[in-house]
Amino acid sequence: MIAIVDYGAGNLNSVRKAFDHLGADVVVTARPEIVAAADRIVVPGVGHFSALSALDNTGLRDAVLQGASAGKPLLGICLGMQWLFEGSDEAPELAGAGIFAGRCRPFPSSVKSPHVGWNSLAVRQGSRLLRNVAPESFVYYTHSFQAPVVAATTAATKYGTPFSAVVEQGNIFGVQFHPEKSWNVGLLMIKNFCEAEF
């Protein structure tokens, strides 16, 4: 069973539909014990970084991180991916999960913000999530803050500056774009996540 973590940040229907479409056994849940019982965990989310404080206040943070430590595949999407880093200038007082080094920052003033629309991936290294995904595929973004390119970055996207599009480290994955809204390319990545073995 795959748990999509509901911590009150936005609309999770789209994410759920994509998993349903692929025939995955998926639940949307706000209950830590269901997250703890899941085989795979998805942390979605849109909006302000401060919304992630709900993870801390509900016991969901521990359930997600314990699952990840136990080797369960974890996928952070958009805000959920930013949470995997140390923190964000959008809500400096709030600590991220700190799995990946670095902080999320706004875009340089040379470009309009938010970054909304389809942009291309630049694949940097072998990636489980991007298996069979054509290099330079287009994916759909909508965000105002961006995560730095780090050692775990398997694909970057450039908007004013290059930022992390996909990060991976063992069983832990993050994508800044919305795979559930990125047409067949995004569905393929979700399928890769559902099938990844460790």
Binding site: N11, W118, F138, W183
Partner: protein
């Protein structure tokens, strides 16, 4: 590179796709679920469904169409028409929309923008503006509401700025003068708004050829361009349109 988006718009009445010329004279163009799926396969970057009558009696019909359309649509999906309060927006999101478009209700109560954004995120709130060039004025545009029937006396540029400040994620800007004419987008209007706000601006109204899209992306500085009838009646295939944009050195998502 961030691409210019091509958005296919389905104007819907009573569960069917229709399209008028300058907001009247409706013609039937098919089943919305099939139209949306066909446009997505053709290469549309996004789908917008506008319920142009949006009377309360037809609300359930519309929500059912949204639900069926969303089920197999894995590109961004915006729904507008008849959203008057937070509960209306919530019902549309619940049915499967990724974004809602609000027009008259936002003009009446701009705090509605912030209320929806606080719950669903700014990226989910598109403020639609219907603008008409003020007669005798070269570059002043008045905001109209109620499907283009009611003038507000408000200036389009100021309203776009206010909507952005209230938490709108995008502006969908329709030129009422050009809507349905196939005479080209209003590039001047689009450029004035695009320069006034930092959020993306979707140009709408007047698409008739590939050159019109090239013009509104270059001269109008639009981030996205929306068309309805041009795609429904087979006047232009989206793939063909994108190849022409590519030939003009505009970044597009193609092949997709």
């Amino acid at each position: 590179m961030l691409t210019k988006r091509i958005i296919a718009c389905l104007d819907m009445d009573g569960g069917r796709v229709v399209k008028g010329v300058q907001f009247v004279n409706l013609r039937d163009a098919g089943d919305p679920v099939e139209c949306a799926a066909a446009h997505a396969r053709d290469g549309a970057d996004e789908i917008v469904l506008l319920d142009i009558t949006a009377t309360s009696g037809k609300r359930q019909t519309m929500l059912d169409v949204v639900r069926r359309t969303a089920r197999c649509l894995f590109i961004p999906f915006t729904v507008g028409g008849g959203i008057r309060e937070l509960a209306d927006a919530a019902a549309v999101f619940e049915a499967g929309a990724d974004k809602i478009a609000i027009n008259s209700a936002a003009v009446r109560d701009p705090t509605l923008i912030g209320k929806i954004a606080a719950r669903f995120g700014s990226q989910a709130v598109v403020v639609a503006i219907d603008a008409r060039r003020v007669t005798g004025s070269s570059s002043r545009f008045e905001v109209f509401v109620a499907g283009g029937r009611t003038p507000t006396g408000r200036d389009t540029i100021q309203w776009a700025r206010e909507a952005a400040a209230c938490g709108a994620g995008e502006i969908m800007l329709t030129s009422m003068d050009r809507d349905g004419t196939k005479a080209g987008f209003d590039c001047e209007l689009t450029q004035l708004v695009a320069d006034a706000v930092s959020i993306p601006v979707i140009a709408s109204g007047g698409a008739g050829s590939a050159q019109h899209f090239i013009d509104v992306f270059r001269d109008g500085r639009a981030d996205a361009a929306l068309a309805a009838s041009i795609f429904h009646f087979g006047l232009e295939n989206i793939g063909q349109l994108k190849r022409e944009l590519q030939a003009a050195n505009l970044p597009v998502r193609w092949p997709c």
